[in-house]
Amino acid sequence: MSCEITSRPLTIARVARQLEDDASGAVVLFVGRVRPDTSRGRRVSALDYEADRAMALTRLRALERRARQRFGARRVHLVHRIGRLRVGAASVIVGVAAPHRSAAFGAARFLIEELKRDVPIWKSDRWARAPTGRRRRRRPSPSVGRSPG
């Protein structure tokens, strides 16, 4: 399986094993990780990822084919994690093995850009608690139910 959507932790070593190929002089691995982004004094503590799994896999396989055709990549491995990911966790790994480095770098860049743009996967922020006194959101009055969002 060269394209995967999984809720299990991602490991670079496992992807690297999928890329072993004596005819490839270059292997490029891109790892996307959850960063501790800050916005308006708040800090992301985790990201929740979800996917339309069946369509996402179809799109990933199409990207794999395009990377092989356009860049001459000999091995491609695309894996995206879903579920709740803490800061620092790997959310995506793109691996490419190709005869030369220019093709391997080009294919890896192409794949991660297209994956972000064209594959039905979504992230949503989970915020850490803001420091006391900086909370701006009004609490609903006890008699009013909180609406979603």
């Binding site: 990822y49 979800e50 339309d52 995206h80 995506v92 994956l115 039905p120 996967i121 949503s124 979603p148």
Partner: protein, 85 residues
């Protein structure tokens, strides 16, 4: 016999409706994507701005234009803008 389509909701669309999917009754003779969306918005007005920026798929294939026909048993996915990676 099924008389409905299943609507799969993702990300902000799921949050707006409060469910990952809804079953929506359609006439046995079928309907259109446009009519389905109009019905959904009537019941969940908060979906309207999300639908404007969303891609739609029917049975795993992207739908071009909202005049596309749908019928009982179809699975319609609502995809807000992607943000993977």
């Amino acid at each position: 016999m099924t008389r409905s389509v299943r609507v799969l909701l993702f990300a902000t669309a799921r949050e707006a409706v409060g469910a990952a999917s809804v079953d929506w009754e359609v006439p046995a003779s079928g309907s259109t994507v446009r009519a389905l969306l109009a019905g959904l918005v009537e019941e969940h007005p908060q979906l309207e701005p999300i639908l404007k920026g969303s891609r739609l798929a029917c049975n795993g294939v992207y739908v071009r234009g909202r005049r596309a026909r749908i019928g009982p048993g179809d699975e319609i996915a609502i995809h807000p803008p992607y943000s993977g990676g």
